[in-house]
């Protein structure tokens, strides 16, 4: 009995060790993969239409979900913000609240989360299925580098699209806040815009938001292409890679947001 118990403990320690080992190995492989993408980016940029095509697929085709979500989040912010601010008699500051929440946090973070589930998952699925059907091997055998031809354009397509989507998300969100706050509830329009203009700093708020969304774009795109490229070439393998893309992207976005925010706004 005791022997059985100690065997189980050994088995547990062994499996934990194995998991840690393979995670570290995978992380190393991902880092190496990232360097390879950068090395082969020159080749893929020389044929710009490949990257432009990916900006269309991951950026343009995500526009609808980004704009609709941005509008609703802005409208909710307008409602909740007004409800809280009017208790302190400062409902004119609604514009500031909406704009700062969106440019600093909600714009980059929520649009990145949406981007990961809309475009990230489809990038992983596409690359994973190309691997499963030997298309990547075929390409490599034809002396066409799959990282330069397939991976790098998708990576850069995501990196370029992300800040643009986040900016559009914030812009339409501000409009949503305006619709609810000014048009529906009746907050003074002049105060709404002028306080916003006075309090939102371009470098401190807008620029930091852009930096955040760029970093999220790199993280989500890297996770998506890596998971696709590293997928086990079976139906089950591709499906669990897609799942990992969404989960890891969400965790990476939230963790990076904390780190970036603590660096950017440490003076507060």
């Amino acid at each position: 009995m005791a022997e059985k118990g100690s065997l189980a403990v050994i088995e547990l320690v062994r499996s934990i060790g194995h998991r840690v080992n393979s995670s570290v190995q995978r992380l190393g492989f991902a880092a190496r993969f990232f360097v390879m993408i950068l090395v082969y980016s020159g080749q893929s940029f020389r044929r710009l239409h490949l990257t432009i095509r990916e900006i269309y697929f991951s950026g343009f085709q995500s526009l609808l979900i980004i704009l609709v979500s941005g509008l609703f989040i802005g409208m909710v912010l307008g409602m909740q913000g007004y409800e809280t601010l009017q208790r302190y008699g400062s409902s004119e500051a609604l514009g500031v609240l909406v704009a700062l929440s969106l440019t600093r946090e909600l714009g980059p973070v929520v649009s990145a989360l949406l981007f990961a589930s809309r475009a990230g998952s489809s990038i992983t699925a596409e690359i994973g299925l190309m691997k499963a059907t030997e298309q990547l091997t075929a390409m490599d055998m034809m002396a066409v580098n799959p990282i330069a031809r397939v991976v790098a354009p998708r990576f850069w397509g995501g990196v370029i699209s992300m800040p643009l989507l986040a900016a559009l998300f914030s812009a339409i969100g501000v409009f949503g806040g305006y619709l609810v706050g000014v048009v529906l509830i009746g907050v003074d329009e002049g105060a709404f815009w002028s306080q916003m203009q006075g309090s939102v700093d371009f470098r401190f708020d807008v620029w930091n938001g852009i930096v955040k969304s760029f970093v999220f774009g790199v993280a989500v795109s890297l996770i998506a292409v890596f998971e696709g490229y590293d997928a086990t070439p079976t139906a089950e393998g591709v499906s669990s890679s897609i799942k990992r893309t969404v989960v890891y992207s969400a965790l990476a976005i939230l963790a990076l947001d904390f780190v970036l925010t603590s660096f950017m706004f440490r003076g507060l």
């Binding site: 190309m130 059907t133 030997e134 298309q135 091997t137 075929a138 490599d140 034809m142 002396a143 066409v144």
Partner: protein, 270 residues
């Protein structure tokens, strides 16, 4: 076999982790000939193709293609060599997001600066050679298995390679498509002046078209010869393979403890 070999394999060994896949393979593929590598599934045939294409490196031995050692090539040299090779994958591996036409034009656009009008003529010529000129506008998802294999064949010969490798070109095809592909492989080899390496387990189909056959079993070459020699062979492995017998040197059962012993053990557990 003539001395002038395009591919020369000497004492090649290959292992995945601790599992030996190839054990001391020697092989010569003469220029201009159509050579088949046959053997049961999992005997290391596809591994051999991947070694020749430089996608895997042998653990031991030398492998020369056109006089150059493949395992010693760097990335650039490997890609230079692969441009002179064509490969047909087991299930075609066509690019599913582009049309038949673009699949065949793919390599011409990637590796040459030819004007689009010339590429157009060349693509139609290649598709005509496999009988699918009229299907150039279709997407890969609209093709039958046999047609997809023929498009992949047209793509493999797009840049007139010196060496064409086929990985199980007959797998999953009906007898008519099988005959068509077989004849195409022979005709294209002779018309292009290429050398062809055919990996298959369809003995009857392959014996009709090839010049020489190597039989691989358990990572070793167990028999070789011209199709006539193979048909007349008294070697038990070749006999079992050519006539498709269920049991022989290649066992029907996967290695296991005796059935009686397993049943008794199961009974004791229950």
């Amino acid at each position: 076999m003539p001395a002038d070999s395009l591919v020369k394999i000497s004492d090649i060994n290959f292992a995945y982790d601790d599992r030996d896949i190839l054990k001391g393979i020697n092989m010569d593929i003469p220029r201009g000939k159509l050579v088949a590598i046959m053997g049961n599934s999992g005997c290391g045939k596809t591994t051999l193709l991947r070694l020749i294409g430089g996608q895997l490196r042998p653990t031991r031995g030398t492998l020369l293609v056109d006089g150059e050692s493949v395992p010693d090539m760097n990335h650039r040299e490997l890609y230079d060599m692969r441009r002179r090779m064509g490969m047909l994958f087991q299930f075609g591996a066509l690019f599913t997001d582009i049309s038949v036409y673009d699949n065949v034009a793919y390599l011409m656009r990637e590796h040459t600066n030819l004007p689009e009008e010339l590429i157009h003529d060349m693509v139609l010529m290649k598709l005509n050679a496999v009988g699918l000129r009229g299907a150039h506008h279709l997407m890969p998802s609209e093709l039958s298995g046999g047609m997809a294999r023929r498009v992949a064949l047209a793509r493999a010969i797009a840049l007139d390679p010196m060496l064409i490798m086929y990985d199980e070109p007959f797998a999953g095809l009906d007898p008519i498509s099988m005959g068509v592909i077989g004849q195409l492989i022979r005709t294209l080899n002779d018309a292009l002046g290429a050398t062809t390496l055919l990996v298959t387990h369809d003995v009857q189909e392959a014996l009709l078209i090839v010049d020489y056959v190597y039989f691989v079993s358990d990572g070793q070459i167990v028999a070789q010869g011209t199709p006539d020699e193979i048909r007349a062979s008294s070697d038990p492995f070749v006999h079992q393979f050519v006539f498709g017998e269920a049991d022989g040197p290649v066992h029907f059962h996967y290695p296991a403890v005796p059935f009686q012993q397993e049943l008794l053990r199961g009974g004791a557990r229950g």
